[in-house]
């Protein structure tokens, strides 16, 4: 029987891994993702989960253990936050290029200096070009569901890629919310066992990651590129099946809220989408035709879905909770991809970006109202005054 519980995002991720029947777990502590490993170690120690729990001596070791386990044919789970995510950077490309699906739970944390526990997406966004599937959850429920869905997507023979299953630190990872835990049998039906076609096996020796000549490089790169071309189809199937199996209503790539007749829209991912919904409700009451588009996958970037969703608005503001210092728009990352997605459309909305929630700062309703004001102006004039607004820190 499905059962309703009150779990934080950390606990939800751990239970997502448990229901996915992970076989190898590698840990190393860093806030705020620590709670996930605390929970899993409890489950393993109590005999509720039959998995090998390995302590890495650092995040680099953690990810090496995870993709090593995947190479041996085990479903592997690891995770990190903040500088832990960047410390493991070297290991991301070998895992993706080796086509070794494993899952890394991320509870975002701002990078140093100085030490800050707050949530900012910059940590794992720095690894977005390494060939991992990547996306954010808005609620503990979505964390739980994504954990299972990502394994199904990543382990699909057409994909075979590792996954970053991300949630905002504190906002999602530490504040409990309602989570429906399904039947294990239902999950087993949805998620078949992991099948590595060429596992490390002494009776059938294989060598992983040999040295190649430079002219062989493109072919290896193209394999990964091809996998990413094929992934969206797999995501669409996996999400559709998930909705059917568990009675959810996830859109595969972008979720729209009150967008049917909207003039302006917030483009957002992660936990702050929750506040954006309330902001949209209040703005509607004031007569502002606002809507929200929530991004569910950053990699693969859903170009067509983003273009389709955003083309109907007059003005769009991306809410950037990560930094791209010196980037084209001088602010965050999302706007680059959003503008590129819209460039070839005959009619496209005015697009600007808002730097908000940096270092774990709360994005308040008032900040959303301020964004709406700027977007309404842009909708009227048909163009934006500039590409980035640093909310609260703009000169007069």
């Amino acid at each position: 029987m499905a059962k309703e519980v009150f779990y934080s995002g950390c606990a939800a991720a751990a239970y997502g891994a448990k229901f996915s029947r992970v076989e190898v777990i590698s840990s190393y502590p860093i806030r705020p993702y620590t709670g996930i490993m605390m929970e899993l170690s409890k489950l393993v120690a109590n005999g509720d989960l039959d998995a090998e729990f390995v302590h890495g001596e650092g995040e680099h070791a953690q990810v090496s253990i995870a993709y090593g386990a995947s190479a041996a044919g085990a479903r592997a789970y690891t995770g990190s936050s903040g500088v832990g995510v960047t410390y493991a950077m070297e290991c991301y490309s070998p895992a993706a290029g080796g086509r070794l699906p494993c899952q890394m739970a991320i509870a975002d944390r701002a990078l140093d200096p100085p030490g800050d526990f707050g949530s900012e997406h910059t940590d794992v966004m720095s690894a977005r070009d390494q060939g991992w599937i990547m996306g954010w959850a808005e609620t503990p429920q979505e964390v739980f569901d994504n954990t299972i869905m990502y394994y199904r997507i990543g382990e699909d023979p057409r994909v075979m890629l590792p996954q970053f299953c991300c949630q905002d630190g504190y906002f999602v990872s530490h504040i409990p919310g309602k989570v429906i835990l399904p039947d294990q049998k239902a999950v087993d039906e949805y998620l078949p066992p992991y099948n590595n076609p060429h596992p490390l096996d002494p009776t059938r020796p294989v060598s992983h990651g040999p040295q190649i000549f430079p002219d062989q490089g493109p072919a290896i790169d193209l394999q990964r590129a091809q996998a990413f071309l094929d992934t969206p189809k797999v995501i669409a199937e996996a999400v559709k099946d998930f909705n059917k199996q568990f009675g959810r209503k996830y859109s595969p790539f972008v979720e729209e809220y009150m967008t049917d007749d909207a003039d302006i829209a917030f483009f957002i991912m992660g936990g702050h989408a929750r506040t954006a919904r309330f902001a949209v409700n209040h703005l509607r009451k004031k007569g502002v035709k606002a809507g929200m588009v929530k991004l569910r996958f950053v990699r693969p970037w859903p170009t067509e879905a983003v273009a389709e969703a955003l083309s109907k608005f007059k003005a769009v503001g991306t809410i950037e909770t990560s930094t791209s210092y010196g980037g084209a728009m001088r602010g965050g990352n999302l706007i680059h991809e959003v503008r590129a997605s819209l460039y070839d459309l005959p009619k496209r909305p005015a697009v600007t970006s808002f730097m908000a929630g940096l270092g774990g700062e709360v994005v308040t309703l008032n900040e959303f109202y301020e964004m709406a004001k700027i977007l309404t102006e842009a909708a009227k004039s048909g163009k934006v005054k500039k590409g980035v607004y640093w909310l609260g820190f703009e000169p007069d």
């Binding site: 200096p113 100085p114 001088r330 640093w390 609260g392 820190f393 703009e394 000169p395």
Partner: protein
């Protein structure tokens, strides 16, 4: 080229690179006196000035005042661990509840 300059409210300002002066003797930014429920009370008559409390205090909250030849206690940083009480060979230190002392309030807006 841009002339854009951020406007950072005074209360949110941070020094360049977050480099701050290091505390030399005391750190007024990290007062820990409100961690304690009890404080060590000294009986100066019984004290032999053996300096055990000075040696064992993990937070350097005991020192010998050379003028008065008395051991002095630092209320602002003592966390009330009572190691000094445990280590005093002359039994001249006794723990006493913090609310028995109306004075010496260490009141902060936020804990550390």
């Amino acid at each position: 080229m841009s002339d854009f300059k951020f406007k950072i409210p005074k209360h949110l300002e941070v020094p360049m690179g977050a480099v701050i002066p290091a505390p030399v003797k005391e750190n007024p930014g990290m007062i820990t006196g409100n961690w304690r429920t009890e404080r060590p009370v000294i009986d100066h008559e019984a004290c032999t000035l053996c300096l055990n409390c000075f040696i064992f205090c993990p937070d350097a909250c005991w020192h010998l005042d050379e003028k008065t030849e008395k051991m002095m206690w630092n209320a602002r940083y003592c966390k009330g661990c009572m190691i000094c009480v445990n280590e005093c060979p002359a039994d001249c230190l006794t723990p006493q509840n913090e609310l028995d002392f109306p004075k010496g309030v260490v009141r902060l807006d936020k804990p550390f």
